[in-house]
Amino acid sequence: MTTPEIKGFLLVAVVKMLVVFTAIMVGVIMVIWLERRGSAFLQDRRGPNRVGPYGLLQGLADGLKNMMKEETWPAQADKLIFLLAPTLAFIPSLLLFAVIPFASPLPPFDVTVHVLGLDFGRWVYTGPIQMAVADLPVGFLFIIAISSIAVYGIVLAGWSSNSKYAFLGGLRSSAQMISYEIALGMSLIVVLLLAGNVTLPAIVARQQVGIWYVFPAALGFLIFVISAFAETNRLPFDLPEAEAELVTGYHTEYSSMKFSLFFIAEYAAVITFSALMVTLFFGGWDIPFTKWDAAVPTAWNAEAILRVLATLVAFSLKTLVFVWIYIQVRWTLPRFRFDQLMNIGWKVLLPISLGYIGIMATAILIFHPLEAAHPKWFGAILFGINLPLLVAFVWGLDRGRIVVGEFQRARLEG
């Protein structure tokens, strides 16, 4: 049963998978390069500049080296889980990207292929080809679900290593990721309320018509950024790794390619979460101040292809900005203490995001009639509501009451 539609669907799916997987892997290598090179520049050093032009091939060389290295198996380790853990860390961070639309859709096609006298039959794809590997109707929920799975890789790695440092790292990460998972999900509820839809292309489309959600959900964005840093175990929330005290925590016992998988997973997660920030709050592949990119293509012509390329570039540039923020923050801030981490997660971000949902839901309910006629004004009003909230949040966070230790807290409270 191979109808032209099934053939077309399979072709599109396979091509998209291959392209996105390759792009992410190359992207990971480039981001690792950017991190090493960027950190060097931030510290007045030069960074890797020997392998390839500007050291661009350093990541490739390191990967090759890691594949050649000896694998070590800790004697007391639980072999099966020890082997499974890196995979479990690696797959979710790749899976997350599957639902993110990275460019405007391509036009549908209906072709009959004859190559070198061979008849490949008719290939049909109806409707515009969404530039996401899987255009899931539940894209948003998929992200929330899969990002929670990532914690398994780290926890199991720490547990199966049968080493106290790895175990402590695993414990910390489970506490941390579960805590921030909630704030992460809560901060995105406002986006859902605004978009009224859980598919990511629809969320992007709504932002194109109205206003980027970073304005009507400004505080939500701030909470999302903080939670995303914690979710990806990046500084200032990298307690599961904590080189100084846990000798890199959960992956202490890992070597060669198994270690590399954790490493790739971390950077893939950085890329994915940057892409998520762009998609949910910065209009995805939307090119600002233009209407041209929003048109739905119907025929294959130069304009349609140019539109896809232009929006892809816009998306990549926006993502790169957030990747860079990730990197610069890492090389600026020191690590939180564990009690500070838990305080921020449970006592600050969670109640604030809950209260925020309440306020924004009310505001959206009140101003909802405006939306259809004046989407921009609707966004602007919500931004106006956000501003005092944002100021209050920053003011509260800035008083030093959240990140101080228990002793000083007791003193401050008398």
């Binding site: 520049f41 931030l42 510290q43 007045d44 050093r45 030069r46 610069q328 923050v329 090389w331 600026t332 801030l333 920053v394 966070l397 800035d398 008083r399 030093g400 959240i402 990140v403 101080v404 002793f407 000083q408 003193r411």
Partner: protein, 168 residues
């Protein structure tokens, strides 16, 4: 008994986390544009603010006379003074009664690069050199024989002179 911790009374601007974060980000960003301090070693061996000292004591060099013979007269002072016992000298004598080294070997692994051999040498034959790139593929290659010591071309160390401590 509870541990007493001294808590300093600090002004708010010093304990504020967000302001400190933004300040830190601005600082790290400003470093992006500053000149790099790294010396590109294999291509670049000295920079404006760093070069090898002329008093550096590195691997040895034997000076030669006009005929290309080692200046060494095999007096035996350098193996005598060497604290690491790394110089092997077997003296020989020609028909005119001139002494010369039959075997002269320095084990650069044992050498502590004190420079006493250069100080003690009456003929100014053996010198420690201003040189540091000594890598070899085999351990045996670190025993420098007379031929190799004579073939070295790097500059020699100007040892510290007690009467002129600043090298003027």
């Amino acid at each position: 008994m509870a541990i007493t911790v001294k808590v300093l009374e600090r002004p708010e601007r010093e304990v504020s986390y967000l302001r400190a974060t933004l300040k830190g980000l601005a600082l790290t960003f400003s470093h992006l544009l500053r000149p790099k301090v790294t010396m590109q070693y294999p291509e670049q061996k000295s920079t404006a603010d760093w070069s090898l000292s002329p008093r550096w004591r590195g691997t040895h060099r034997m000076m030669t006379d006009e005929q290309g013979r080692a200046k060494c007269v095999a007096c035996g002072l350098c193996p005598q003074i060497c604290p690491a016992n790394c110089i092997k000298l077997v003296p020989g004598e020609d028909e005119h009664g001139n002494r010369y080294p039959l075997i002269y070997e320095i084990d650069e692994f044992r050498c502590v690069f004190c420079g006493y051999c250069q100080e003690v040498c009456p003929e100014e034959a053996i010198h420690v050199g201003v040189h540091y790139e000594n890598a070899e593929y085999e351990r045996e290659r670190f025993v420098y024989d007379l031929e190799r010591l004579c073939a070295q071309t790097h500059p020699v160390s100007s040892l510290w002179d007690p009467s002129d401590p600043k090298g003027e």
